[in-house]
């Protein structure tokens, strides 16, 4: 690929997570004690393991409640909250927001609200149930356009790539991109049915891991062209310097054990960023806690990095598997890591799987030895995206 060379910076962040509201809460939680999931407060969630990392109820906003007659569930409200944080963090005013396109990755979106209606015996609200992107666009007051992007657990990673391409193509000077997801009984039930839920906590790369555990949340990033950011004196967390898509085209739920397309995505993202594996100071892997993903990804990382294994940040062990939001959360974590120059300590494993030969520092923060962070997000259906965030030299 030969991308346009208009550098794209990350100038605003917003997050709603199991640690509460805001990026500071996210970072404090990431650097704090190991979090545990809890049982979803849903008496109709008839399944063996109804566990999730939930946003604290007190942190879930009650507004906006409605968009064009559609009642908004938790996911949409989390998305709006994170979006408002991100544009405030970027220092954007209402005039700037009018020209700010929105690209949001979601998968279940307002399905949680529909499920609550069925629980209470209320009439089915019908459709649409993909409404978060429009809710975000309405909340920030844009006229520039909105796209709602789905790719299961890689959705927000793809949304960030869409935003990156829009800026490089000259369609926009800045784009708000990210993801949002609330709890969904159907999603949780299906993962239970597929035997993909851990009974304890989300334990990626652990020998005893038995699946993943979902997390609620929203993560939004402002992507901005360097020339636009510089002209207004904005500071940047990092540069989003490379991204590559691929698809295993192998199986609907299992990754290709060879990992050829995942490897291609990582190498492609690095090449697009004009970086080498030696430039990568840390990796935020997809790392879900499922038996297959973690070992396949570990081997793929080994193919890309050889004997030199950069430290990883096992984010899902901290906030759960946030589904469509995973890629955006990983990029927020990567941006914060690059700003601070240190990778937080990982949640302690009981015992690392010997087949997962990744370096998981657990005893304390790890200084970034190289100026880039690689992010992976993989999805049901075999879609992969890798993104490279690099320290921005201009700040």
């Amino acid at each position: 690929m030969s991308p346009a060379r208009r550098p794209v910076l990350i100038t605003g962040l917003g997050a709603m997570s199991c640690f509460g509201s805001g990026v500071d809460a996210l970072w404090q939680g990431m650097t704090g004690p190991t979090t545990l999931p809890r049982r979803v407060p849903d008496p109709h969630a008839r399944m063996a393991l109804p566990l999730m990392y939930l946003v604290p109820p007190a942190a879930v906003p009650s507004e906006p409640a409605v968009l064009a007659g559609v009642r908004l569930g938790v996911g949409a409200r989390l998305g709006v909250a994170a979006a408002v944080q991100a544009i405030a963090d970027a220092g954007f005013d209402a005039v700037t927001c009018r020209h700010l396109p929105v690209a949001v990755g979601v998968e279940m979106d307002n399905a949680g609200y529909h499920e609550r209606c069925r629980s209470t015996g209320a009439a089915d609200p019908g459709t649409p149930f993909m409404i978060t992107a429009s809710a975000v666009a309405a909340a920030i007051g844009t006229s520039a356009g909105v796209v709602s992007v789905g790719n299961a657990c890689a959705a927000s990673g793809y949304a960030l790539t869409v935003a990156l391409d829009m800026i490089r193509a000259g369609e926009a000077d800045a784009v708000l991109a990210g993801g949002a997801e609330g709890a969904s009984r159907v999603a949780l039930g299906c993962f239970n049915r597929l035997g993909a839920v851990d009974p304890v906590r989300c334990r990626p790369f652990d020998r005893g891991r038995a699946g993943t555990i979902f997390g609620e949340g929203a993560a939004m990033l402002v992507l901005e062209a360097e020339d636009h950011a510089t002209a207004r004196g904005a500071r940047a967390y990092a540069e989003l310097s490379g991204a590559t898509w691929s698809c295993d085209a192998y199986h609907l739920t299992a990754p290709d054990p060879v990992g050829a397309q995942a490897i291609r995505s990582m190498r492609g993202a690095l090449a697009e960023a004009r970086l080498t594996p030696e430039d990568v100071g840390a990796v935020v892997p997809h790392g879900t806690g499922t038996r297959l993903n973690d070992v396949v990804e570990s081997r793929a990382l080994g193919q890309v990095f050889g004997d030199r294994r950069p430290p990883i940040l096992s984010l899902k062990a901290m906030i759960g598997h946030t589904g469509s939001v995973a890629g955006a959360f990983a990029c927020v974590a990567a941006a914060l890591t690059l700003r601070g120059g240190r990778l937080p300590a990982n949640a302690r494993l009981d015992e690392q799987d010997s087949d997962c030969t990744v370096w998981i520092p657990q005893d304390g923060p790890t200084p970034l030895a190289s100026p880039a962070v690689l992010v992976n997000a993989y999805a049901f259906g075999g879609n992969n995206v890798s993104l490279v965030l690099a320290r921005y030299a201009g700040q």
Partner: protein
Amino acid sequence: MNWVISGIGQVGPTDAAETNWFDVAARLPGRGYRRLPAACQYLIAASGDAIHDAGDVLSTVTAERRAAVVGTNNAVTGLLAEMDRTIIDHGADELSPAQAPFFAVSVLTARLGSEFRLHGGTLTTHSPRTAGLDAVQLGARALATSRAGLVIAGATEAGTAAVDRADTGAAVLVCEPADSARARGVEAYGTVRIVTAFLDPVTPDTAVLDARWPALADPVDAILDDSPVCLAVRTWAERSEGGMVVTPAPGGCLAPVRRLVESCATGAVGRQLVVTAAAHGAVSMAAVTMFGRKPVATREE
């Protein structure tokens, strides 16, 4: 980059009230199709028709350069409701493991990946009403940024009782760089330029549409409902020198993509503007330029 439509395909009932119109055994012979969600079956069938219509395109584009972007609003609405009912009434253990992956609607598009070896990536869009045109726009951008050398772009829907005037079927375009089609000796149907905007759902202001589309001269084919956003768009588009036809919008995002396919299928030379919008704010305008190519015979003929 200039890109063109080199193949078209669509499936759907001839009558909105028609049931059992899709014979999966006849349209998708072989294993593994019968238990797919209906919208996935429609998508695979229409995509196969479009690829056939595009000529020998798969042999000239490596798998790593092939991608798909598909829009949908209701492909799994009915399935999600059924699954939820099962969980509530009987528990998650009673869910079908074959159907379970499709709780994620993007898995329908991903299924195209294994069908046609699309290692370049598959992506789903789902903004209400505009998702189909969004898919074409994202596909065009993927070509322009060289993320892909071939994009299967379109929309699929499965009618469900939960959706008022639900649409059903699939419509697909094969999109590739103009140079690639020319090198293959394939005549292109035309091309599409898509512009999007967002209007406030309560007090929609069409000034942004004036800025996006200052000269409105082509015939307008508008697919709209009676929401404030759509009424504002209708008023704005009425001034087109080419005139306007308004169709009440069915539920879903399929109709605008059908218009693109049908515009290509006429074999006419000319331009047309397909406009759609949703009550929640999204507006999408597709300027179609038709080159005059007539479709080849379908696989069924």
